[in-house]
Symmetry: C2
Subunit: 488 residues, 2 copies
């Protein structure tokens, strides 16, 4: 039986959807971060701690404490271990004996330190786990996040509502950042995992698991290196054919690769090899947590792209030049409209100092006029019907309220217009609200637009890059699917 098949048969359900969690070695010096992160967990939480000075702190959190995993009365699905590295082999043996569903080692100081002791201890826990078929995550990681059941690795993460995005990260910081920034950006997580040094379970195992997970419609990955490249690519090809897989490769530069060696002890492959393979296997390459969020947002909220020709509407002359430079610079086309569109526009576009070639410059006085909202709707309809335009992008000011509308309580006719357009148009549609005056106003406005299921971005550059990736993704999938059908 090959290693690949062995891994395929691993059942990670007890790890991702545990009914009981034990934390080994949480302590005051860490602010009891693990037990506090689990305060929303919908299941049993146990502590294992033998230091008597820590017991009152743990008791104060209302968590029952035991001297060992074996002493816990019921079954334990998932263990989080934060013990000093020298104690790690003992905890692995306890996990095996207790027949837990899996264990995540937050503990670090293993092979990534290049010390003899760290390397020896890493080899020891690896061999023990592999022999027993124990699902070991890490070491040097923060493990699983499942918001639906309140399984968190950071108290700042949300719980309660799950979402359609799975995230697999070699780095704990990136897993945490993605979940928190994602929540602000309307990206809700199904399940995520940080897996550090990957001595037993590697990115491929998690990709396979989330690939089969019905709740997960899009998968994001932050990878520093993979152990079994062939198996990774086989699984990637299979999963990417069914759902979008976004890959952010850490250690893309020579100096960055040196950093991955110190971080998770893996050797990063060359950036060029990754670039080619990712494309060939139908995945999407991103370069940062922001790009990951933006691309996921486009894939979740924007309808499939059929071409790269964009209609742009900006709120001033200067912004109309900048938005055009930015979208054209990202490799998108900003074409002239069809003649019939200009005939339609001439009938109602009455903004002195504005213009409507493409980009449109609707000027700040637009929404001050009585028929501003109906003109916006007409303008969007022109874009929708124009055969030269594939996608529509609109810049808005943070506080747009048509003449006469009250500050709160009133329905917002601008937001309704955008929401209706988004619902009825088959063309990709994005809104951009840049930062002006006060960031909090812009943040609030973005939240309201996102709340309508509309992809909303904080600047031209992020929106342009996201649309470009969105367009490229659908073109690549069409190409790969026709190759598939042609049997190539």
């Amino acid at each position: 039986m090959s290693k690949a098949i062995a891994s395929t048969s691993r059942n990670l359900d007890r790890v991702f959807c545990p009914r009981s969690v034990a934390v080994v070695g949480d302590k005051q010096a860490l602010g009891y971060m693990w037990l506090k992160a689990l305060s929303d967990f919908k299941g049993e939480v146990y502590s294992v701690q033998i230091d008597p000075s820590e017991l009152p702190g743990i008791a104060a959190l209302g968590v029952p404490n035991y001297s060992s995993l074996q002493d816990i009365p019921g079954p334990v699905d998932y263990v989080i271990s934060s013990v000093p590295r020298a104690a790690a082999p003992r905890i692995v043996r306890d996990c095996i004996e207790k027949a837990v569903g899996g264990v995540c080692f937050f503990t670090s100081g293993f092979a990534e330190t290049s010390t003899e002791e760290g390397t020896r201890l890493q080899r020891e826990i690896t061999e023990l786990a592999l022999q027993a078929g124990l699902n070991l995550i890490g070491p040097n990681c923060v493990g699983v996040y499942n918001p639906r059941i309140g399984l968190k690795h950071n108290a700042a993460q949300q719980s309660g509502e799950g979402g359609p995005v799975g995230f697999i990260a070699q780095s704990g910081t990136h897993a945490t950042l993605f979940s928190i920034l994602g929540a602000i950006n309307g990206i809700r997580i199904s399940k995520s995992v940080s897996y550090g040094n990957a001595v037993v379970l590697d990115s491929t195992d998690f990709l396979e698991y989330l690939g089969q997970d019905d709740e997960t419609r899009i998968i994001g990955m932050y990878i520093e290196g993979v152990r079994d490249g062939r198996r990774f690519l086989r699984v990637l090809k299979d999963v990417a054919a069914r759902k979008p897989v976004l890959i952010w490769k850490g250690g893309q530069t020579q100096a960055g690769a040196r950093a991955t060696a110190s971080h998770t002890g893996v050797l990063a492959e060359s950036a060029a090899v990754w670039e080619t393979l990712i494309r060939q296997y139908g995945a999407v390459k991103v370069h940062s947590v922001d790009e990951m969020i933006d691309t996921a947002k486009a894939l979740l909220y924007v309808k499939p792209a059929r071409g790269n020709r964009v209609g742009l509407i900006a709120m001033s002359g200067g912004q109309s030049v900048t938005i055009t430079d930015t979208f054209a610079g990202a490799g998108l086309e900003i074409p002239l409209l069809d003649e019939r569109s200009y005939d339609r526009l001439a009938a109602f576009f009455d903004i002195i100092g504005g213009s409507y070639r493409n980009p449109f410059d609707i000027s700040s006085s637009f929404f001050m006029s009585a028929n501003g909202v109906s003109n916006l709707a007409s303008m969007l309809d022109v874009m929708e019907k124009d055969p030269n335009i594939d996608s529509v992008v609109l810049e808005m000011f943070p506080l747009i309220r048509p003449q006469g509308a009250k500050d709160t309580g009133d329905k917002d006719p601008v937001l309704e217009t955008l929401s209706e357009f988004r619902a009825r148009s088959e063309k990709p549609f994005m809104v951009i609200i840049t930062t002006a005056h006060e960031e909090s106003l812009s943040t609030e406005a973005r939240k309201r637009v996102t709340g309508q299921g509309i992809a909303c971005f904080p600047n031209f550059e992020r929106a342009a890059k996201a649309l470009r990736r969105h367009v490229d993704y659908f073109r690549l999938r069409r190409e790969l699917d026709s190759c598939e059908q042609a049997g190539i």
Copy 2:
């Protein structure tokens, strides 16, 4: 007498530092935006408005109103005109007769609309102004901002304290954005101007003026096109030899150039030509308002760069990989340190799971240990003394308080350590505080760091780009200066 010399002799002091301002045609429909923007102005403000329905609104603002410029009793240094375009020629004649210092036309709808009427009116006001030697700014712009005397074009702009950065923008939106985002980022403005269609006064006139202005140490420009390219380059060469000039060129792409034609009616030159000329004349090219702010920030707050080798300190393993990829990707080097530095580090670096090759990964537990702050100081000192390192970049978490420090009131020893290092080290030093958990925490932390005179950036990418431009600027200046000395 050549046109260039004629322009050189123009005195723009009455425009940039007026003692009296008249607003012609402000009205309710604009929310009396001009008169409200002038509420802090340290001088006489007059209104000129003949529509009787507007008079109560103007009276309510406490501004004396007159039926014409001629009726204003004293001299008028600066006029802001917001009349309909058909009335523009009459206002120009009035300005000439009143012998004002200059006039800015907010009015738009001229040649940029490609209509016969707009083009004819633009020609008329241009000829009138040129014949009389009237300093006409615009049309289709928002004119001058001088915070020191409370001369603003937007109520959200700051007044009171001036700064060292001059800004010249063909777009009113970009002038407004730069002043407001700049204030948040520690970039204070000496004087700025938005000049729209540039029919009389062009970017070159303002560059020459700010080049001679003692208050202005750095000049930023947003340009869509210039009328007299040779004169522009001659003035640029002269000014850039004395102070940094940052240029953001609007209409860099073909589609963007079409947008500039609709915006300010200018034809944008090819991006490649600009790129080459800007470099050749010792200026710095930027591509957005963010890049303008970041580069100005580096030039203002960071000591001159002598090379491109960077020492990086990040707050987690994942971030250490990402910061390295980002800085290396921006064309900077992240070298190994000198052997003696590693010997020094080994004596005190005790963070399990951290590392100190370069990048340094100091891990989140760093500041929880009792000697975290003194270790940070030692680490910075190692970087300072290391012969392989030219610049030092430190990632910080938003809320860093060493063990035992109170939430408020207490002095912040981390901030003091950074501030001391910044003061004594001759190496460029930057801090990055990314967004985590709550944006407001990060904003607050950045403000505190900036308040110490330390260049602080919101993400790795913006910091890396700014440092790269900073390094390039000083290298370019050294090259140009040695050419100059060699008489080449």
